[in-house]
């Protein structure tokens, strides 16, 4: 977060080339649905959802230093919250399900708020704990979450989850009924793509603003030296709680998006592995920055997909059954190796690739 310190004027010089990159990037992203097939769009959507969640986690863990291994719990709250708020009560394969049948846009908002509230409820506990202790304590959330998901059947649909009501904004449905745009049939993935992109953009910019502004500095201060932060006038407890709420809200939003992609909530999904993957994202991308979260999310969410997709053509894999390394295993190896390697060769995360030159810039300036 070194470049946070330059007055806008100072930052100006190395903004222009970036601006072009941004422009090109966004155009590409907007165009993709016209070229990619559903598989890739879905992969991209998962990545976007992951990115939103990871931004939240990075606010909490990267910037404020509250290690959380329970992020997937808040994703679950978001996902199921949406289903309950938007879904109708009624019979769903042999189960009586409760739903409020609210308009979906409202359900999204409420789901996000609900996740935030969940975070707020946990923050008093979090407030007492530090480091690894907090981390493992948050693990408890996941187990609680799983337990509830499986046992509160009439809300969650139990083990086989429940259908996710189709999102509809201003009468436009994000479902699979095909709309043909520029000779390209738009299914749910294509439509959701833009929704996801929008959510990510807004979420990203917001978090970036927070991190680079006054709250961000306070958060970092809390991470680096709690007592000093207090003495400098930062209400530590309040901030820690606030950040917990905010990050949970991001998780909630990510959860909603994931639910919409899945079209059905799957309890097994919101487990410990997922939580650890989120942690991996922010570490791989870079702790404490939005860019870090996004890059890391893309890496962690897309790599396995790529690997499985091309698993047949991976080096030295044998076809299933013939005893050798199966494609699945091969992709696991590469995934594990990638995590180790990235962190090894890019301490500080993938985003550090660009930062040094930015730094040098600012040096010359001052």
């Amino acid at each position: 977060m070194s470049d946070t310190t330059h007055a806008p004027a100072k930052a100006a010089p190395h903004r222009t080339p970036r601006a072009y990159l941004w422009l090109a990037g966004s155009l590409l992203l907007l165009a993709l649905p016209f070229y990619l097939d559903r598989f890739w769009l879905q992969a991209g959507l998962f990545a976007m959802a992951a990115a939103i969640g990871a931004i939240g986690l990075n606010l909490l863990t990267g910037a404020t230093g509250q290690l959380s291994m329970g992020h997937s719990f808040f994703l679950a709250v978001g996902a199921y919250g949406y289903c309950v708020f938007a879904g109708e009560s009624g019979e769903e394969n042999g189960r009586q399900l409760t739903g409020l049948g609210l308009p979906t846009w409202l359900a999204v908002v409420l789901a996000v708020l609900l996740a935030g509230a969940a975070g707020g409820l946990f923050s008093p506990i979090a407030g007492r704990l530090r480091g690894a202790y907090l981390g493992i304590a948050t693990l408890a959330l996941i187990f609680i979450g799983q337990h509830v998901l499986f046992n509160a059947g009439d809300l969650t649909g139990g083990f086989n989850g429940r259908d996710v009501p189709v999102l509809s904004l201003f009468g436009f449905d994000f479902d699979d009924t095909e709309v043909v745009i520029a000779a390209v049939p738009f299914g749910s993935s294509e439509k959701l793509w833009y929704a996801g992109l929008f959510a990510l953009l807004v979420g990203g910019l917001f978090a970036r603003g927070v991190l680079r502004g006054r709250p961000g500095r306070a958060m970092n201060a809390i991470r680096d030296h709690r007592i000093a932060a207090g003495v400098m006038g930062v209400p530590v407890a309040r901030y820690r709680a606030a950040v917990f709420v905010l990050s949970s809200m991001y998780a909630g939003l990510a959860g909603v998006l994931i639910a919409l992609i899945f079209q059905r909530t799957v309890p097994d999904y919101f487990g410990m592995i997922l939580a650890l993957e989120y942690l991996a994202m922010i570490v791989i991308g870079g702790l404490g920055t939005v860019a870090g979260a996004v890059v890391g999310a893309a890496f962690v969410a897309l790599l396995p997909q790529l690997l499985t997709h091309y698993s047949d053509s991976l080096p030295l894999v044998a076809d299933p059954g013939s005893g050798g390394v199966t494609p699945g295993e091969a992709s696991r190896y590469l995934y594990g190796a990638a995590i180790v390697a990235v962190v090894l060769f890019l301490p500080g995360g993938l985003t550090r690739l660009s930062v040094p030159m930015v730094r040098r810039f600012s040096r010359e300036k001052s």
Binding site: M1, S2, T4, T5, H6, A7, P8, L205, F206, A207, G209, V210, R212, G213, R214, P215, G216, R217, A218, N220, A221, R223, D224, H225, I227, A228, A229, G230, V231, M232, G233, V234, P235, V236, A242, L246, S362, R363, K365, S366
Partner: protein
């Protein structure tokens, strides 16, 4: 109370800060002086030992009040109580009429009490500018929404306060280092960053814990000048903990001496320095002490 007898204006120690009348002018009309800081019968106990034992003293508005004493006498503990890091076992601290005892650190800070730390408390990777901007926290308002939505108000605020940080950095002599991570600075400079960060809080009372430790003689002189300049320019009260008697002599209007948590002496620097108890407990029989030693060197 001996220390309350003398007004900061006429402070003999104030001479070092230069022209008395100007000092008066400052603490006088130009601005209402900060309220006095009164410490009464403060006791702090930790498992097994009493770090402060019913200590009382008053920091007169706009004066420099030195607290000295042997290692482990309770000076930093005293600061920790003043800044709300420790809660006094008994006794009270008041700023004017407001009671400080039991307030959380950030509430104390909100009242305009700033401090530096004896063992540096700077995030090593954050830049100097960031650390100093943190000092502005209590003076700024932009919250999550404002910064997240990039409201113009937040931007304006940021701009103004960066400017002020620049001024303060200039003043303490860190203008060149604003963009460097604090951890990369030499020890002495880090001390200055702490001072700057505290000044960024625009305090009414400034608590300095060993501000010149780890500096060469003329760096000490410069820092002392900075502190004097602060008092002169802002007319705020300063509580100073320092083992360098030279600096204490030069800056302090009044001195309180602690030993084993008890207040064993108080008064003007001159009175204190000649106080046998102080000499026994702290300065040592030999006439020299850190700084005066130098003069003695000069005249063999």
């Amino acid at each position: 109370m001996t220390d309350s007898e003398k007004t900061p204006g006429g402070a003999s120690g104030g001479a070092a800060a230069g022209h008395p009348e100007r000092t008066v002018g400052h603490t006088g009309e130009e601005s209402h002086p900060p309220p006095p800081l009164t410490v009464t019968d403060v006791t702090v106990r930790f498992a097994g030992l009493t770090a402060l034992d019913s200590v009382s003293f008053t920091v007169e508005p706009g004066s420099v009040h030195a607290v000295i004493g042997p290692n482990g006498a309770g000076k930093s503990t005293c600061f920790n109580v003043l800044s709300g890091v420790y809660r006094a076992t008994s006794g009270s601290v008041r700023l004017g009429r407001t009671e400080l005892t039991g307030l959380a650190p950030h509430r104390v800070a909100a009242l305009g009490i700033a401090r530096t730390f004896q063992n540096l408390a700077l995030p090593p990777h954050a830049t100097v500018a960031d650390s100093m901007l943190l000092g502005r926290h209590r003076l700024t308002r932009a919250g999550f929404l404002a910064t997240g939505l990039r409201l113009p108000s937040a931007a304006r605020e940021a701009r103004e306060h960066r400017a002020r940080v620049g001024e303060i950095a200039e003043f303490v002599g860190l203008a060149g280092d604003l963009d460097r991570p604090a951890g990369a600075l030499p020890y002495g400079k880090q001390k200055l960053v702490e001072l700057g960060r505290a000044l960024c809080m625009e305090p009414t009372v400034l608590l300095l814990d060993e501000p010149v430790a780890g500096m060469t003689a003329d760096e000490r002189r410069r820092t002392a000048a900075v502190v004097a300049g602060v008092r002169e320019g802002l007319g705020i009260s300063i509580v100073l903990v320092e083992h360098d008697m030279g600096v204490v002599m030069r800056l302090a209007d009044a001195v309180t001496v602690l030993d084993f948590g008890r207040r064993i002496a108080g008064g003007t620097p001159a009175q204190v320095q000649s106080d046998p108890a102080v000499v026994r407990a702290y300065l040592g029989e030999s006439p020299q002490s850190a700084e005066t030693a130098a003069n003695e060197e000069a005249t063999p």
